[in-house]
Amino acid sequence: MPDSTLEAHSPREHFSLNKIGRVVETYTLEAPDFDPRGAYVHTYDICTILNDNMFAPEGEITIERIPREDGHFTLKMLCDRRTIHNPHSYIVEATLDCLDDSLSTPVKWECKSKIALSPEEEPYLSSEQHKSGTFRDGEVIITSSGDQVKRTAIPGDYTGKWCLLDAVQRMPGADLSPLHFALIDEFDEVHQDQTLSFGEAARIEMTGGPRDFHVYKHLGKGVIPTVFWVAQSGRLHFLTTGSEAYILREADGATAEYDGKEVQQFPQGKRL
């Protein structure tokens, strides 16, 4: 990755990072060496960002990758997003069986979701449901609680929204040819006509010195343009998509440090 010709820029100069400029400028992470095809556990803070002042944590997502010997790997995912009635959260747990390919394509998955005080607590007011998915004969087949089956035809490649957080870490930077695929959104809905492509190599000024990133762009139906920032280590550090940002907080036992002070300059009042 290192390119000696790259000029370092403040994150505030980059369209995708300017809303989390403070976070990026102060970000440090001393994590172990990373094998994007190996086992790892990443936890991302999920935040709402609306302007270059506002930064509001909303929850977190933990992704664990477990390689297997059959050419597949398992992704385990736990997402905990706050609801308005703290401490109730919306909790999603999933296990996906994925191909070790360029899109981390899920071939089958199980997902359960609920509003609860924690993953171990009972669901609040009948809010729990289970969904499973598989791909067969050109169709994604979603089976929901109560044995309801829904089929959606997919003409070509596909992947899952959260699988991309794994897949981008193995992408070859400028050598990537644009990928075209369908996207399974939150395990149960399909958005067709997606594209993921290499954006640029960027050098960003951060605490401790400039760091190099590969930047990937994801566009498509049902997706606010999404930008992935993969660090030189190979780990996905930041993701921004409209008013959401994901920031790598923990990586294989190491904890990042950054100025994540909550700034609640949430626009209120009549203009909404």
Partner: protein, 505 residues
Amino acid sequence: MRSEKKAQAQGGLNRREFLQTGAVAATGAMTLGGFHFSRPANAQSTPKPNIVIILTDQQNIDTISAYQKHFTHEAHGCRWLSTPNLDRLSKRGVSFLESHSANPVCSPARSTLFTGRMSIETSVTRNNVGIDKDVPNMGQWFEANSDYARVYCGKWHAGGPWNYPLIAGDRKIPGFATLPGGARGTGDIADYQVSGAVGAFVRNYQEKDPFLIVAGLMNPHDICYWTPPLGGKVLVPDWDVFELGDALPPLPPNFDYDFPEPRPNRVTSFNEMNWRNYTYEYYRMVEKVDADVGRILDAVESRDDDTLIIFTSDHGEGAGRHMRVQKWHPYDESVRVPLIVSWPGQVAEDVIDTDHLVSGVDLMSTVCDFAGIPAPPHARGRSLKPLLQGDTPESWRDNVYAEIQHTGRMIRTADYKYVKFYAFSGNADKPFIDEEGNAVQFEPGMGHRYEEHPVRLLFDMKKDPWETNNLFEDTQYADVMEAHEKILREEYEAHLIPGETHTRG
């Protein structure tokens, strides 16, 4: 004098009596997930459908891809997005294309949807205040008059300066149990919580009594944060940063225009690329919320009993039309909203109704009719049930009325849209200025005594659907102006009962 008029209109009932109209005492109960629903003694035993209301926020009438035959200009949204789930819902129900918000601003619109009263009557003529204490909301009305279990999940924004209800306390919606979906004010995070929780509830519900559940989805309202007053250019690039090229929608034909208007509020800080990026992302937000609609639809289809689905939005979005963002104004992009009603086997399917003028206040009358209970007193809407079941009523309204924030008034007939604004006093609680220059509250029948803005709007909606030619100064249309003014005064202003007290805010 106002209080006396109001009490007289209500037959002298106080609030408690008002809500218990038709009910003697609550007997019987159901406990669901720890929440206790009581049942009035006289609740009818006739089987009635479950009712699912799916409400998006700030969605334009032309942002459903199935409507391409009806919205044929290249700038119409349906040509730039894909909404497979809303298309599916449209196919299994009736879509009303002449559906209008009763006040195209979040809190006022929502107050009218969930009470069946005009915003001047709910006291919610601006954002962040709560419904008048004497006007029951849908949950309260159903609680007093039916055996429905009632649940609300997602954006409410008709109870004060907050979006999402809590399970208990000040921010619980009276009459509804709360599924706590949603956090702050963005659909990005909240909508999946709402669609997931509502979908689960619908799948899991096994009680004997029917349920009424509202899914308050936030998107595509997230686009508000892309507008100059809020997120500003931080979120909307002024160049083609994502190299979208021809995927960026064009500017609309009414982007620029030259006619006098009472409330000029164009956004002049965006260049063309800002606008086209803005509109591109707006349509992506519609697609996102379409997925959430799909989750709820799937859940309804998993049941083997009867469920009525009503889908609508509170108001629309400027999306560059009349160089506007957001809502707050009387043009069609702000006022006209999607409305689809579905109940396979009981309601017509795959019908696009382009003839009947429909209003947000019709929601309350419609759900009451399907639930077999009377609409609340002074409900201003009409039940859509006859239109949905192919029973053409002898007469249907020939106009709809809407309020625009505090002091704007709109009359829409089959051919014309007429708008005027009273002068705003600056005092939200007493927004009108009377002949003596005093700030006053609205008084029925007194419109002739208020100061008015000298510029009005009149559009020929058949010949000029993009509203580019204001006819109000054209003497050929003087009679048309007068006829619409007469409707406003005689059919609406003479009868509306202004609210007095915000519950919150």
